[in-house]
């Protein structure tokens, strides 16, 4: 599903794949490919990123740093962290449960279930927000009851959390399912034969085997949770300093002609994105290491 969803097979800088023998490429073809790649990625990725930082630093580093003094900006950062801290673990637990059920067992409707888990990924963020308005809004099913019990869901933190959970719903599960399917059930069976209980098998065998994929899913999930705009925008209420997450705060600052501050907060999100990429690369590297350990080695024979 999601980008880079195929962690366990992904070995981008494996030297052995560089073309030699039959795969040797004529140099001009190779360099055409490389330049098209660099050009395309440069145009679509590097330039926008550079634009964010250029705009943010337009009035100097002082003005840039000052943008983070604003209590509303700090509140937005705090809220974003809080939302991610709730949404990510919730989806983590779900992802483990779903992957266990789907990867380790055969049952009727498994394909449908897999598709339904993917669904939030393909649903427009606008709709993701809208459904919670329909459910919890004053005109919705539960709104009047909630309001009479003085519980705020929508236009408050719970609504933002729910919308965030919705949009990041499939991430962990989608990382785990293919890997756990590929690993099969033998190690778990071995543990059971050896007398391990259900939890022991899970904690001691299954979890260590998928920990890198799990972490990878969490990283992607977290990136999206912190960066979601559309869905959160619909349920937030945009109360400055209270229900604005960082992406919403960017929009607000932008609309206040405070471009430096807007791009400053945006650059913070961009830095988060880059940290995500670094973390992701690290996890890929670690997991590939553990995969490579599985390749047959030339250890001495019997």
């Amino acid at each position: 599903m999601a980008a880079g969803a195929t962690l366990q097979q992904h070995t981008p800088w494996n030297a052995s794949r560089e073309g030699h023998g039959i795969r040797a490429e004529i140099p001009w073809i190779k360099w055409t490919f490389v330049s098209v790649t660099l050009g395309y990625l440069g145009l679509f990725l590097a330039v926008p990123l550079a634009a964010v930082f250029t705009e943010a630093l337009r009035k100097g580093i002082g003005a840039y740093l000052e943008s983070f003094q604003d209590p509303a900006a700090l509140a937005a950062i705090r809220l974003t962290l809080l939302v991610a801290a709730i949404a990510v673990p919730a989806n983590l637990v779900f992802g483990l449960a779903a992957a266990w059920a789907i990867a380790k067992f055969n049952f009727l409707g498994k394909n449908l279930l897999t598709t339904l888990i993917d669904l939030p990924f393909a649903v427009s963020p606008v709709i993701s927000g809208l459904i919670y308005v329909l459910l919890f809004g004053q005109q919705g099913w539960l709104g009047p009851w909630l309001s009479s019990h003085d519980v705020n869901v929508i236009f408050a933190v719970p609504g933002i959390v729910l919308a965030t959970i919705f949009v990041t719903f499939p991430f962990v599960a989608r990382e785990l399912i293919p890997l756990m399917q590929e690993q099969g059930n033998e190690e778990e069976e071995a543990a059971l034969v050896l007398g391990a209980g259900a939890w022991q098998t899970f904690w001691r065998v299954t979890l260590p085997n998928v920990k890198w994929a799990l972490l990878y899913g969490v990283i992607l999930c977290n990136a999206r949770a912190m960066g979601e705009f559309g869905a959160v925008s619909v349920v937030s209420g945009h109360i400055r300093g209270k229900t604005n997450t960082m992406p919403l705060h960017v929009e607000i600052l932008y609309n206040e002609y405070n471009f430096v501050a807007a791009f400053a907060v945006a650059s913070l999100l961009a830095i988060l994105a880059m940290v995500t990429l670094v973390a992701k690369t690290f996890v890929e590297w670690k997991s590939r290491q553990s995969v490579e350990l599985l390749e047959p080695t030339t250890a001495e024979e019997v």
Binding site: E189, A190, V193
Partner: protein, 358 residues
């Protein structure tokens, strides 16, 4: 501990993996489940272990030493299971792998740390991998992994040891060595053991008893000698070792295979029934002239004398390919060359009616 299976059937959807299988394995024996892939042997092994359920029918039972264990879950059956691909825990060292079964016990049953360490040491000695206890599975060769898997299974002191294609993933030389080692190990510890294999040589060499399976059924149970010399049916005959097959029919109480007419064995006197003659290559005699015995004319196509036996490839008068083996002495007595016309007569006869075809 003896194992007894009574009337076990297993279906996966519309596919029947086991049909009404019953089997008794005496205490302390080393038994092979032999059969082609898809014959149900691995399913049977997994059912014994409790890794697979079987179809619930009132007469179906699994007894360990006369105790029905059908309702018992896998962890409580005290079986040691060696998986085909070993299923070693890749994130644990050799030592941790072997100790796993002891460490996951409830605290009141769990041996002390030092007891576990001693046990692991002992097992490492048994599998001859002392000094490798801190390696990870990925850092071991195939044969080493195999032995670690075995040690891990033995650590819990199982009443029954089950091995799924234990040497399947190893190359020929390692396989030979491990096979003998396993036999010696079994003679030493004498735990009832069942292993699955599709390699008849392995089964015949290693096992006290061999269970030949085909299409979810047991075809024959017996000692290696029984099976080889007294195969119960065409399948067993064909499956154990190479064999020449001649097609013929029963005519006037005789089995007719081209120019060769044989006395029909008992119970095969129905005229017109098609018959099959199975003869192993070493059971065929070769003569340059007819000697009175029923024989087939054939022409020598190829002679391969590099090896313990001389292997001769012949083409019969109907064009069928016939394989023959003889000793070097016999070959020297009556030498033939490619292109010679010769006469071939079977020493041992096994004619089966046609309900099995190759």
């Amino acid at each position: 501990m003896s194992i007894e299976l009574r009337s076990i059937t297993k279906t996966f959807g519309s596919f029947t993996a086991l049909r009404d299988v019953s089997l008794k394995i005496p205490d302390g024996e080393l038994v092979a489940l032999l059969g082609p892939s898809g014959s149900g042997k691995t399913t049977l092994l997994r059912i014994i272990a409790g890794l697979e359920s079987f179809d619930l029918r009132p007469q179906s039972e699994i007894l360990f030493q006369d105790r029905n264990v059908a309702g018992q879950c896998v962890g409580d059956r005290q079986v040691g299971f060696v998986f085909q691909h070993y299923a070693l825990f890749r994130h644990l060292t050799v030592m941790e792998n072997i100790a796993f079964g002891l460490r996951v016990r409830r605290s009141k049953d769990r041996p002390s740390r030092s007891a576990i360490r001693d046990k692991v040491r002992e097992l490492l000695r048994l599998i001859q991998l002392e000094g490798l206890e801190n390696r990870y599975p990925a850092q071991l060769s195939g044969g080493q992994r195999q032995r670690v898997a075995l040690a891990r299974a033995l650590a819990i002191e199982p009443k029954v040891l089950l091995l799924d294609e234990p040497f399947g993933a190893l190359d020929a030389k390692v396989r030979q060595g491990l096979r003998r080692w396993l036999r010696r190990l079994h003679d030493e510890i004498h735990v009832t053991s069942v292993f699955v294999t599709h390699d008849q040589e392995e089964a015949l060499e290693l096992a006290d008893q061999v269970v030949v399976m085909n299409q979810g059924r047991i075809e024959q149970v017996g000692t290696p000698e029984d099976l080889f010399h007294r195969p119960a049916n065409a399948f067993v005959m064909d499956f154990l070792g190479s064999v020449n097959l001649f097609h013929g029919r029963i005519e006037a109480g005789k089995a007719v295979f081209g120019s060769m007419v044989l006395d029909s064995p008992d119970g095969l006197e129905i005229d017109g029934e098609s018959a099959k003659l199975f003869v192993r290559p070493h059971e065929l005699e070769l003569h340059t002239k007819p000697n009175g015995a029923p024989s087939l004319r054939a022409r020598v196509v190829r002679i391969q004398s590099a090896g313990p036996l001389v292997k001769i490839e012949l083409a019969s008068e109907s064009g069928q390919e016939v394989q023959l083996e003889m000793s070097h002495e016999r070959f020297r007595e009556e030498p033939v060359a490619v292109g010679n016309d010769v006469f071939v007569s079977p020493r041992d006869l096994r004619v089966f009616v046609a309900d099995y075809s190759i």
